[in-house]
Amino acid sequence: MTRTLFAATLGALLAIGAALPTAAHAEVPVRVRVIKGSRQGPAKVDPRLEDLRRQLSPLAYVRWDQVSEHRMELDRGRTQFVELPGGETAALTLQERHGDTVTFEVALTSRNTQSRLTVQKGQRIVHQVTGEKKGEALFLTVNAWP
């Protein structure tokens, strides 16, 4: 009887141990880039934005440049802020995570805008964060587990 209990307990602990890494890694590494799209000038995509080409190509902007890049660890429910050129701020929050699927909230306080976007690993969010001025606009790109 004692051996039975021991074997059962050992097996259960092993199984729980296998499950723990999933629960323990609540943090999600995130790569955030601020990019600028321009209507004027020659068509050109910053080489650092090559992975975004298919998402950017349907837009009216022809020139794309990377303004800044940030790498951060997002905990669920904790908001991280990204400074934008011009003094504005974008807030990024990890809302949920299920396996390789994550839900982010992008909030722009200056424009009273909130977006909840669910993406899988390998996908990227491209979110406009400023209005267009003189044919230019800023975008935020987010991808988890870069």
Binding site: M1, R3, T4, A7, A8, G11, A12, L14, A15, I16, A18, A19, T22, R39, L52, R54, Q55, L56, P58, L59, A60, Y61, H98, G99, D100, T101, T103, V106, L108, R111, N112, T113, Q114, S115, R116, L117, T118, V119, Q120, Q123, R124, I125, V126, H127, Q128, V129, T130, G131, E132, A137, N143
Partner: protein, 158 residues
């Protein structure tokens, strides 16, 4: 003769099997009945012989190796306690298949939980890979295989 038929079953009675009244009646009958007295004497003699015979055979037997013999037979019997050669972790499982099966139940339950949690995560991702809800000045969302593109309301672009 009629009395003999009544008392015959009582002749072989053990001490305490007859009531005092039956014992007295039987003694009175035996005093007056030669046949029943003879039968009672034969039974008493036979009873003593059987007891002595059994005792003699028991005494003749050597019980010293009894425990070792029993343990050897128990160990050799299939499905019983394992012999020395089958000891060890796997030997224990072979010797206790039901206990091993019972111990697998919580293990399988835990494994099923882990698999369920991980599958659920994967299925959610497939079902709602581009779930989106917005508030404020967002006017357009382009959904691509690489991810969503959210555009603000400016009325000039796209």
């Amino acid at each position: 003769m009629k009395d003999c038929v009544r008392y015959a079953p009582m002749l072989g009675a053990r001490p305490g099997e007859l009531t005092d009244e039956e014992r007295r009646a039987l003694d009175l009958h035996l005093q007056g009945c030669a046949g029943c007295s003879a039968t009672a004497a034969e039974l008493a003699a036979l009873d003593g012989l059987v007891g002595e015979s059994l005792l003699a055979r028991a005494n003749a037997r050597d019980f010293a190796p009894f425990v070792d013999q029993v343990m050897a037979r128990v160990g050799a019997a299939p499905g019983l306690a394992p012999a020395r050669g089958r000891r060890g972790f796997l030997g224990w499982f072979r010797a206790h298949p039901r206990a091993a099966l019972a111990s697998l139940v919580p293990v399988l339950a835990a494994v099923a939980l882990v698999v369920y949690v991980r599958l659920e995560g994967g299925q959610l991702g497939q079902v709602a890979s581009l779930e989106l809800s917005t508030e404020g000045e967002v006017t357009m969302v382009l959904q691509t295989s690489d991810g969503p593109v959210v555009l603000l309301d400016d009325g000039e672009h796209s």
